[in-house]
Amino acid sequence: MRHLVFLLPALLLLLALPDTRGRYNDDFDDGEDIAEFDDNDFAEFEDVSEDPAVDVEKEPPPRAAPSSTPIEDDEDEATVENEDGQDEFEDADAQDQDMYSKYDNEEFEGYEKTNPSFKNTLIYREVPAHLQNSWESYYMEILMVTGLLAYIMNYIIGKNKNSRLAQAWFNSHRELLESNFALVGDDGTSKEATSTGKLNQENEHIYNLWCSGRVCCEGMLIQLKFLKRQDLLNVLARMMRPACDQVQVKVTLNDEDMDTFVFAVGSRKAMARLQKEMQDLSEFCGDKPKSGAKYGVPESLSILSEMGEVTDGVMDNKMVHYLTSHAEKIESIHFSDQFSGPKVMQEEGQPLKLPETKKTLLFTFNVPGMGNTSPKDMDSLLPLMNMVIYSIDKVRKLRLNREGKQKADRNRARVEENFLKQTHTQRQEAAQTRREEKKRAEKERIMNEEDPDRQRRLEEAAQRREQKKLEKKQMKMKQIKVKAM
């Protein structure tokens, strides 16, 4: 810093004048005073910048080489003195030095530059993405929004397709249904039982139709269970695992409309599944599904039956004809007087009453096309609906002979007994636990009673009750013994 004081006057004279002439003459029309004032103001820094700049220029190259020449005042002086004469020529260069050259060399004493050419390597810092002002950096968001739009598009397209398929089905079957049922279409909410004449939409992929008012049956519920075309995830899942639309028909019958039997026919996979899942099939049709070939039906169909007589009764010529010609569309056909739905998983310790049964005919049909159905395919299901109507009439006429009836009655009695036995132990356990709870509660009450008199009285009352129970039991045992004798 001391050197600055010495150098300033010398440099001022040499540098300031040509500089001002070069820089400020054009800008300022005021007299040279201001220019000189400016000169003097900034000249200090100008000199400092030019002086060490020139030195820095010369010094880094020698420093780059592993020289042991230290930065010394003598060198500074020497270089400055040498360059005094050359300053005039090097003014232009000196002006172009970058900001690093404005620092005094002495500041860097002892500082070893690791990167002598650092002024050549300008590091471009990355501008944070959200300040970049470009949409490209938001590509993930754009992707997300595109995905959402695709989902919405698929929803609209899928919903419309399902709706068209449902309408096509109804149009092709309307005549048949209206000629067979007095009430076609009911949602259960209107006061009067009038045909709505249209399907109930439960979902974007499930449509219901209730038909009633016919001989031989209480009513018929038709469910069009389409694929979830409105859900993109489901569409993608179906690309892995193909599935098809289904039409489910459930006919509920009055008691006099059907005799007591359980029967099922359908594809082998479906039969195996139903035998495990369905309450009545698992209880009454214990044998493995038999191949349909024995009855003239394609090999792909198998039969579950309570007894042989039932199979012979159901599989008449017309039925066989229906099954043979539409085997690929038939998933399952299930006739049962003990239908109570799939097996309900019982919670532990909960005794169940015997499940309510209803005489039912269940039909499940696969719509051809394996997902790629068109409204025209719905016409191919019409013969199957004819089969349903035929089955309703047939079941009404089908009666077991005496032997068959006896067998059927025995089966039902057996199932009921088994059920009661199972639940009996459960019910007993439940009763036992209840009794124990009561006793415990009473004992607690007695213990908690502070008044000793009351305590004694309660204890005595409990003892008397116990004695009475014992006496009753003894009496019962005696009676049983007497009866046995």
């Binding site: 944070p128 993405a129 959200h130 950096s137 938001y138 590509y139 993930m140 968001e141 997300m144 995905g147 959402l148 989902y151 919405i152 929803y155 000629s179 067979n180 049922f181 007095a182 009430l183 009911d186 949602d187 259960g188 039982a193 939409q201 439960e202 979902n203 974007e204 209730w210 009633s212 008012g213 016919r214 001989v215 031989c216 209480e218 009513g219 519920l221 979830k228 409105q230 859900d231 993109l232 995830l233 739905g341 799939p342 309900v344 009439d393």
Partner: protein, 106 residues
């Protein structure tokens, strides 16, 4: 008359009204997808709001859309709308707090 009866199987006197199947006794009949997706959507949107995770908020939006697509027509639209609004608010809040774009996990 009898001929007519024989030919025409319809019996207006034997009409039974439609009773929707009781799904409480048969829970297997119900499709649980919309309920699960609704719950999942709400969980993700809370995660997105609390932990300021953008991807959570986006997944919440997707979940609420899926839940809507699978919902039954008898279901309350208020529930759907509330989960949808919650997921949208989660997305908006995450971006207001941190306008940086989402970085992919790879």
């Amino acid at each position: 008359m009898t001929a007519n009866n024989m030919a025409d199987p319809r019996r207006p006197s034997k009409i039974f009204r439609y009773k929707p199947p009781n799904t409480e006794t048969n829970p297997t009949l119900e499709d649980p997808t919309p309920d699960y997706m609704n719950l999942l959507g709400m969980v993700f949107s809370m995660c997105g709001l609390m932990l300021k995770l953008k991807w959570c908020a986006w997944i919440a939006v997707y979940c609420s859309f899926i839940s809507f697509a699978n919902s039954r027509s008898s279901e309350d639209t208020k529930q759907m709308m509330s989960s949808f609004m919650l997921s949208i608010s989660a997305v908006v809040m995450s971006y207001l707090q941190n306008p940086q774009p989402m970085s992919p996990p790879w």
